[in-house]
């Protein structure tokens, strides 16, 4: 999986940001245009969070607050990924009133990989397969009772085989 | 093992000096054509032995590109490199005709 230099994707993001900004300012969302939209809690696709680069920006865009590490968040990820294209990552927690779970890969071009809305009655545990550009910290975020908790693990990623 | 290592190093030094002096005279298109043909022939022979290397083809392509731009020094040098690689792949194929048995599980 060859990753291009960021020239192209930077311009792509600028165009999209332009579009999103207009949408936000549009009549329906006027109220939101001042404070960043806390998309996670309501039912809208967190556009800005997925466009943020670093994990801190993404978490802020998604939840509007910082997370504190907690050992009640069990993050399961391999120490060495067999392949950066398919990395099995899952999280479970004993915390109560979980409303959202998200996964971030700090070193990916955009840190936020996936975010899940957990309605009442759904168990606070998710497994999925993510792409990782290179060795990076994987961060699981759990929103429980309005507070944010996190767990972080480093996953080593490199290409396989003896090269071209 | 150190005997082989020292002999390789001394051989390398000799080649280094020889290589530097001979390339000083600029290569002409004719030099390139001759070197390129020799490299292609060697690579063809490796093909007959079903044992070509991908890097040989790459060096031949580089040489052709350099020649098209008129840089016959570089083109000749890359053709010589291609020939050296092709010859190494021929040597590998012939020597392995017997050498493979050393690895065989018995």
């Amino acid at each position: 999986m060859t990753i291009t230099d960021n020239g192209f994707s930077a311009t792509r993001r600028l165009i999209l940001q332009g579009v999103a900004a207009v949408a936000l300012v549009g009549p329906g969302n006027l109220g939101f245009s001042l404070a960043p939209a806390f998309a996670a809690a309501n039912d809208k696709y967190p556009e800005d969070a997925f466009k943020a680069k670093g994990d801190a920006d993404a978490i802020k865009a998604l939840y509007g607050k910082a997370a504190e590490p907690s050992d009640k968040v069990k993050l399961d990820a391999p120490e060495i990924a067999e392949n950066g294209a398919v990395v099995p990552i899952s999280v479970s927690t004993t915390l109560a009133d979980v409303t959202s779970i998200s996964f971030l890969v700090s070193e990916n071009p955009n840190a936020l990989a996936a975010s899940y809305r957990i309605p009442a009655g759904t168990m606070p545990s998710v497994a999925n397969r993510l792409k990782m550009a290179k060795t990076s910290n994987v961060i699981a975020i759990v929103e429980a009772g309005g507070k944010l908790y996190s767990a972080t693990k480093e996953v080593k990623v490199t290409v396989g085989g003896c090269g071209g | 093992m150190s005997v082989i290592r020292t002999s390789i190093l001394s051989l390398a030094a000799v080649l280094q000096i020889a290589g530097a002096t001979s390339a000083l005279a600029a290569s002409s298109e004719a030099d390139f054509k001759a070197a390129f043909a020799a490299a292609e022939a060697a690579n063809k022979e490796a093909g007959a032995l079903r044992n070509q290397w991908t890097v040989t083809a790459a060096a031949l392509a580089d040489a052709k590109k350099a020649a098209e731009k008129g840089d016959f020094d570089l083109a000749t040098a890359q053709s010589k490199e291609a020939e050296a690689l092709a010859k190494a792949s021929i040597y590998q194929a012939t020597s392995e005709k017997q050498a493979w048995k050393a690895l065989e599980i018995r």
Binding site: A114, S115, Y116, P119 | -
Partner: protein, 103 residues
């Protein structure tokens, strides 16, 4: 055309475990094809699971979710034979939906 969504929903005790595998390229927009051109971003943005008319799970996905994406979760309730509705929509406006029986 066969659905792009493969689901296994199994009820055990008072929870139902759901696994889904979806056939989708999930192109990130950062990868070049053999001819060196960028493969445009093409990934599922939203995947929803509904049981008994209510949403039991919603996935908001970015470009970093693997090709042929997989997800597993479970929810309280759900009995054998009941329906679970799954639908996705991607950033190019394509979508698919299917209804699976809980085993």
């Amino acid at each position: 055309m066969a659905s792009t969504i493969r689901v296994r929903a199994t009820a055990s005790g008072e929870t139902t475990e759901v696994q889904a595998l979806i056939q989708h390229p999930m192109d990130s927009g950062f990868v070049k094809d053999a001819k060196g051109e960028i493969i445009p971003p093409h990934f599922i943005r939203e995947l929803t699971f509904e049981y008994d008319g209510k949403s039991v799970f919603v996935a908001d996905w970015g470009a970093a979710v693997s090709k042929d994406p997989y997800v597993k979760f479970s929810f309280k309730g759900g009995k054998k034979g009941e329906d679970l509705k799954i639908s996705w929509v991607d950033n190019q406006g394509q979508s698919d939906t299917t209804t699976a029986k809980i085993q």
